[in-house]
């Protein structure tokens, strides 16, 4: 699994009540445009940390992109967000994409949490799957 890059705006948005990570609809968005190359990079200001600043691919032939939350809890003051692996299944050509963002579809402006960079573009043919293999112990992210 590629390394996860938390977006800086996420931490302020979290502190200002934009997310309920335990039960909001967390979803992935796929892009082939580098975050820093977007017209308004979502890596910049907090106000830019939203889905509308991401150039997304077409999802016509792709299965559900919604994540399944297993656990949103703290132990000893360490919070972990545990998410089930996500299997993206193609029923036709999908992609190319290189970046996979995670955003909150329930939040007012579909605010972003972070993204994965897979290093090179990926395309799927009909009948192929792409699996996002999340860490089931430490979770997508931890807060302390």
């Amino acid at each position: 699994m590629a390394a996860f890059s938390k977006l800086n705006g996420f931490v302020e948005l979290l502190a200002e009540k934009s997310f309920n990570l335990g039960s909001d609809t967390l979803t992935v968005a796929l892009s082939n445009t580098a975050p820093g190359s977007e017209t308004t990079p979502p890596t910049g200001a907090t106000s830019a940390c939203k889905l509308s600043n991401v150039t997304q691919i077409s999802y016509t032939n792709l299965s559900s992109r919604v994540l399944t939350i297993s656990s949103s809890a703290q132990t000893g003051g360490l919070y972990s967000l545990i998410i089930a692996d996500l299997i993206l299944t193609a029923t036709g050509a999908v992609g190319p994409f290189r970046y996979i963002y995670i955003f909150d579809d329930t939040a007012t402006n579909d605010e972003l949490i972070g993204y994965y960079d897979y290093g090179s573009s990926i395309s799927l043919a009909s009948g192929e799957t792409f699996t996002l293999d999340f860490d089931n112990v430490n979770g997508l992210l931890q807060l302390q």
């Binding site: 309920n20 335990g22 039960s23 909001d24 609809t25 559900s64 919604v66 399944t68 939350i69 297993s70 089930a84 692996d85 996500l86 299997i87 299944t89 029923t91 579809d105 329930t106 939040a107 007012t108 009909s126 009948g127 192929e128 799957t129 792409f130 699996t131 293999d133 089931n136």
Partner: protein, 88 residues
């Protein structure tokens, strides 16, 4: 136990069907949550918050059922090298 690609593929699609049944219950709840959070409701603020708490609880219960299904689907997909094919 038969771990042939065909059997694993059949199991993957059977699990996908289970996921879709749960999604059919989850999706309306998620849509309602969107409306409540977005203020797109005729409920009073107090009633909307009460309803939001209940909807969130229902979503969590359904996600608890979905988690093991998704984990097993992922294991099947990995075993098949991503070649899950079309459902039969």
């Amino acid at each position: 136990m038969d771990f042939s690609p065909d059997k694993i593929r059949a199991r993957f699609h059977a699990l996908t069907a289970q996921r879709e049944k749960i999604d059919a219950k989850l999706n309306p709840l998620r849509a309602e949550l969107d409306s409540l959070v977005g203020g797109d409701t005729k409920l009073s603020v107090k009633a909307a918050r009460t309803r939001e708490d209940k909807v969130r609880g229902s979503i969590k219960e359904l996600q608890d059922k979905l988690f093991p299904i998704e984990q097993e689907r992922a294991a099947c997909a990995r075993a098949l090298g991503g070649k899950t094919g079309e459902p039969e």
